[in-house]
């Protein structure tokens, strides 16, 4: 039970970003305490004070966590219980109450506090200027445009860099394996993935044999991907190149 409690503490700390010196949760806990002391309205007290406090207690309760995880068969989403606190709504309400009549100066201080304790979302490494209306890398779109069949579907082997995007653009392109192979903690095994991504140098004969079991009409490799023998010696021809990606067509199909 103690171990489960400690797990919940770690989840809480990771959620709140304490390890990266973010302290928005500090503002929330302060406001929660303030509302405990000052909120008179019974409904608001129940919704913004009692219920969140009980939720926090439930979150750290090992028995609750055990039931939650057993019921949903998923321990990775336990943190979403913290969404129920709606920290921003409760904090905003409490802070405005605290400001009293000093609205403008209070607003300035609060905004500075939020900016200092929080983290600017658009600084995220996952956010970049959109290259097109699809919000997908242009290279993925160009490759699919080159190889997409007019009718029916084809199987294409692409490097990990493109796996997330290809089928967001066209579902006529099928893949031997997908995003599930890129999630390390899921720990799946796939022979084609091992041959394509894990091998330091691609073993061409075994690799080609595997691609033909699907069969892959095209193989896309990064220009600098090391390969024991050129694919062109095994019935493939260079179909085109987009950026760093070379597209090979299997001429035996």
């Amino acid at each position: 039970m103690w171990g489960i409690f400690l797990e919940s503490v770690v989840i809480f700390k990771n959620y709140m970003g304490y390890h990266e010196n973010h302290f928005l949760a500090g503002i929330y806990l302060f406001v929660l305490l303030y509302l405990w002391l000052t909120e008179k309205d019974r409904t608001r007290r129940a919704v913004f004070v009692y219920a969140p406090t009980l939720l926090l207690l439930a979150f750290f309760c090992p028995l609750f966590r055990k039931v939650f995880v057993r019921l949903l068969e998923d321990s990775e989403t336990y943190y979403r219980l913290l969404w129920l606190l709606q920290m921003s709504i409760v904090s905003a309400y409490g802070l405005i109450k605290l400001m009293g009549k000093h609205k403008r100066i209070g607003l300035a201080v609060v905004c500075l506090m939020i900016a200092a304790c929080g983290d600017y979302v658009y600084d995220s490494q996952h956010i970049s200027r959109a290259e097109n209306a699809y919000h997908l890398p242009q290279e993925a779109i160009d490759i699919v445009d080159m190889i997409e069949p007019e009718e029916g579907r084809i199987t294409v082997l692409v490097p990990a860099d493109l796996i997330y995007y290809v089928r967001q653009y066209s579902t006529d392109i099928e893949l031997p394996y997908g995003r599930e192979m890129l999630i390390a903690r899921w720990d799946y095994y796939h022979a084609m993935y091992e041959a394509m991504e894990k091998a330091e140098v691609i073993d061409t004969p075994a690799f080609v044999e595997l691609t033909r079991t699907y069969p892959c009409a095209y193989v896309v490799l990064k220009e600098d991907r090391e390969i024991s023998e050129p694919l062109t010696e095994y019935g493939f021809s260079v179909y085109g190149q987009v950026g760093d990606f070379v597209i090979y067509q299997d001429m035996t199909l």
Binding site: N14, R80, L82, W83, L84, S91, D119, A130, Y134, Q168
Partner: protein
Amino acid sequence: MLTAVISLLFWLVVIPFCIGLIPVNFILPGRRTPGFLFLAGYFCMWALFALAAIPAVLWVEYDNFKAASAVFTVLSILCAILGIFLLYRNRASGGESLLGVRFKNDTGVARKTGLKGLLKSMLRADRIEWLLFFLLLGFQLYKAAAFASFDGDDAYYVVESLLAQEADTMYRILPYTGGSTGLDVRHVLAVFPMWVAFVSVKAGIHATIVSHVVMPFVLIPLPYLLFYEMGKLLFDPKKTGESKNNAVSGNLLHRENLPVFMIIMAMFQIFGNVSIYTNETFFLTRTWQGKAVTGSLVIPAVLWLFLLLCGEREQEKRTDVGLWLVFVCVNMTAGICSSIAVFLVSILTALTAFVLMITKRDIRLLLRFGAACIPNVIYMGIYVVMGYSYLLQ
């Protein structure tokens, strides 16, 4: 292009607006506002989508998206017509308007709560605060349109939408690879990507563009509309401890607090990225995914409805059927957003109703909120039966 825009306006503005007229007809005139109307319309529309899509996913094997789309189209248009009928009937009988209403405030001065009243009150005072808020909102919309946010889950959800659009099939094809598959209990009941696909088909726009570009223009303003409605409740001068004699200053307090509340909420969203797990991060980086809608819209809506349903009832001694209808629809919306959302909303409802029952010493509250969660119980029943049916074989 023009057809696409008209179609988007029809399915994302006109239909929810007209459907929203139904619950609005069954609430107290003083609570009828364009904001409530629009939010209620969206929740009712999504509940209708759940009714159309979930049975199709479970029991229709081929072209199940086509079947769900046809049923949803008929249901939503019928409800929109019913909403318009209620609007005209109300107008013809000389009742209070469903769109906006004149009533006297504490100072005895007539106040308009319709769209015009809303805009006027914004322009009358606190212009700088409102301007600042709209700048922050505009900034978020600009970022959503001009910047791409990578999220691995898009390889599942966005591709599911695209598969529905291109293959007329829901959850029968593996989104990651394209192979065929059986129903995956964890995802098949959460049909939010199918609603995105529905909008994409009607507008004739690629589902990935709709997800990444069109949806943020709906799913970012909508929570702010909810925060606005919530703020109006929280900073209502009648409820902020202002006496009737001090109503003028109370009204000022109200007007000043609302834009301040909105700015602080916007700041929390923009700087809420303290980890990848917060609902604020989901809101602005995965706006189009059902789980983001859960954190930014559905859960706040439950709190909003708790405040509405339990805040003034003691004085009014009257039940608002329309509010309960919206509460049920919010629960159903949780179901289409994600399976876990149903559990979350049920936990929140149970806990909050429990503490309200104790603080207000009224057991009927618990019973009523429990009854409003019946859709969640049905949903969880389907989930458990699907998830554990192998034990019965």
